[in-house]
Amino acid sequence: MSLEILIEKCKKNETKAQSELYKLFSRRLFALCLKYSRNRAEAEDVLQDSFLTIFKKIEQYDNRGSFEGWIKRVTINTALQQYRKQGMLNIVDEAKIEDVTIEDDGFDLNIDFLLNCVQELPDRYRLVFNLYVLDGYSHKEIASMLDISTGTTKSNLARARMILKDKIETYKSQVNLQSL
């Protein structure tokens, strides 16, 4: 069954098609949710709300543009909505904007660890980092999405990078220490 047909059937509220669509995209969208959330439980909540929104609004999808892009946007919006509801943590922090470099020493970091690092970031840092680095939104877009200034998004991003770098460095040194 092609994606177009599946989408059409979902527009008609056919249960089977909805379950197909879920099967097709839940893994990718769940990864997205994990990155935007603090933990797995929260990510599952976001995923659930996202799919409900997708099925509810699928009629509005007009077959122009990538469907996956559309459902990703819905999911990201849902994730952000969670934090808008909760009230964003106000992080007042003027960090220097500097390049954060890590040595490329062939050290292979696994996904779980990196995901953990992202999830452990303070909420707004995590959102900005995800939006900017992983999902390619501009500072201007992010600023309007999170209702903050572009200056804040930039400094949040820099802080996020710093924290991530620290985590990775610590991790590496520990591993090196062990392997010695």
Partner: protein, 542 residues
């Protein structure tokens, strides 16, 4: 800017395209929400639509029939007979005449103040007519007018009957609809609950399994890890990661491993693997859950398993004909006819060829009845031996001296001098068949309410054949029709709806139109009988 940041690159590479499997409960919750919000909304309009179509067809045919009949019955010229130049045949005025005549006023016609009466008087009475004669004419007039009135009233009754004919099937449909609305809702909820319980159980079981340390053994570990991480580096690296994590209490916080972490190093290592095994397992689990969901939702898989079905069914069946002819006698070709609704019973066996196509055969007791209105029945003093009073009816002994004429186009001159007996209002024909349907059912959709098209044919074996005359609710058997074939056929076309009540029981509702092909041998005018029935029953699948 992100290009310049190696750390961005690292995260984008690793976290850009990875996938993760949510737990099965997510889909359970989603489908539950969808069912609550969407399921009911969908079921009701579908019912309304289908029942609406069925009701519409019945309404259309009945209304069309009623209109057609009214058109053929009332011809104003016939209302006041025996008055050549009567120009104002108002029915009320005719009634006036009747009243006057009935009150046996000897001067009824003579008191010609009234216009109509004047006309009648002019044409009928000449100076030579004596009182007796006048009375004679008065009687004649009386009978003529009475006939006329009979016609009028029967005309009205016909109208009423037509309306009744319209209403009763619709009424039934409405009731059916109401019943059915209740049933599917109920069963849906039960179904949803059941599925819910099932998947919960599954989810629980599998979570337990994945916590089971037995799963984490060396043979499982490697392939799972390789498959899932997708990164080239395998065991060594992960073990190092795990080791570090074990010593770093920070990484235990809020992580996906929360439920599994023990502070022991070895166990942390296990945890990594458990998590991955769990991911794998939940993947399977969700697929199972979805599969079970599909089982629950789709009839086709279910029916595919249960190929055979038996459906006892009952149906109100409306019988009528297309065309204005009569199956009884030439004389009644132009009369109004009324189709009646009878209850039919039967049983149908079905076999599913595949998910879409079902063959079914069965046996029905099919009774139909049909009324020819505006018939005058009277005792003939000198019964004609050579000619049958009704062309297509073999009269029984008691009725052999009866004569029948249509009150349509009745001319008083034709009525024998002594009209000894009743003026009948209708001839009722009751026909019973053993119907053997052979039909194909093609499934159009199989949501909560399945929709299908039904087409096929029936063999009709004549089992009952009676003709009655009916006056004011009293029926007298006249005999039987001589022109009904002992075996005939019908072409069937219908729409089927079914609601799944349980794994093995469906509730069916099928409005079916059956056009009879050669039921009557020799009809007067165009007489193409059909039936329209709403067959409902429970299909037991096994």
């Amino acid at each position: 800017m992100s290009e310049k940041q190696p750390i961005d690159k690292l995260f984008k590479e690793k976290l850009g395209e990875f996938e993760a499997t949510p737990s099965a409960s997510v889909w359970d919750n989603i489908s539950q929400e969808l069912n609550q919000g969407g399921g009911d909304r969908k079921a009701i309009p579908l019912w309304m639509k289908i029942v609406g179509i069925a009701a519409g067809i019945i309404l259309l045919i009945s209304v069309g029939n009623a209109l057609f009949n009214t058109g053929s019955t009332t011809t104003p010229e016939q209302e006041v007979v025996d008055t050549e130049d009567n120009t104002s045949p108002d029915s009320q005025e005719s009634n006036d005449i009747l009243n006057i005549n009935e009150s046996n006023e000897p001067d009824g016609n003579a008191s010609s103040d009234d216009e109509t009466e004047g006309t009648i008087a002019d044409s009928e009475t000449n100076p030579e007519i004596k009182e007796d004669l006048r009375e004679q004419i008065s009687t004649q007039n009386k009978s003529a007018v009475q006939n006329n009135v009979v016609e009028n009233t029967t005309g009205n009754t016909t109208g009423e009957r037509a309306v009744v004919g319209n209403q009763s099937p619709i009424g039934k449909n409405k009731q059916d609809k109401a019943d059915l609305n209740e049933i599917p809702l109920d069963s849906d909820t039960k179904l949803a609950d059941k599925i819910d319980e099932d998947s919960k159980e599954d989810g629980f079981r599998i979570n337990e399994n994945s916590k089971d340390p037995k799963i984490v053994n060396d043979t499982d570990k490697d392939p799972v890890k390789k498959d899932l991480t997708g990164t080239g580096n395998a065991v060594a690296q992960s073990e190092i990661d795990a080791t570090v994590k074990g010593e770093n209490p920070k990484s235990d916080q809020d992580t996906v491993k929360k439920d599994l972490t023990d502070t022991e190093k070895a166990l942390t290592e296990a945890a990594t693997d458990v998590e991955e095994t769990k991911a794998e397992e939940t993947n399977d689990n969700i697929e199972e859950a979805i599969a079970s969901q599909e089982d629950g939702d789709s009839d086709e898989k279910e029916e595919f398993r249960n190929r055979w079905g038996v459906t006892p069914q009952v149906a109100p069946v409306y019988f009528n004909s297309i065309g204005s002819g009569s199956a009884i006698d030439d004389a009644f070709a132009g009369n109004s006819k009324t189709g009646e609704v009878n209850m039919n019973y039967g049983i149908v066996a079905s076999y599913d060829f595949n998910e879409k196509l079902t063959l079914r055969a069965g046996i029905n007791q099919m009774n139909v009845s049909y009324r020819t209105n505006d018939v005058i029945v009277y005792n003939n003093i000198q019964p004609s031996v050579d000619e049958k009073p009704l062309k297509n009816v073999n009269l029984n002994a008691e009725s052999s001296d009866l004569s029948f004429i249509s009150s349509n186009g009745l001319n008083v001159a034709q009525v024998p001098g002594v009209v000894a007996a009743n003026i009948q209002s209708s001839i009722d024909q009751e026909i019973g068949f053993i119907e053997i349907p052979l039909e194909l059912e093609y499934k159009l959709s199989d949501n909560k309410v399945g929709l299908s098209l039904i087409g096929g044919m029936s063999t009709l074996i004549l089992s009952e054949n009676k003709i009655y005359s009916s006056l004011q609710g009293n029926q007298t058997e006249l005999g039987e029709a001589s022109n009904i074939n002992s075996t005939s056929f019908s072409a069937n076309l219908g729409v089927g709806m079914n609601v799944k009540l349980s794994e093995s029981i469906d509730l069916n509702l099928e409005p079916v139109f059956k056009y009879q092909l050669n039921t009557f041998k020799d009809t007067s005018g165009e007489f193409n009988p059909y039936t329209l029935g709403v067959y409902s029953g429970l299909r037991f699948k096994f």
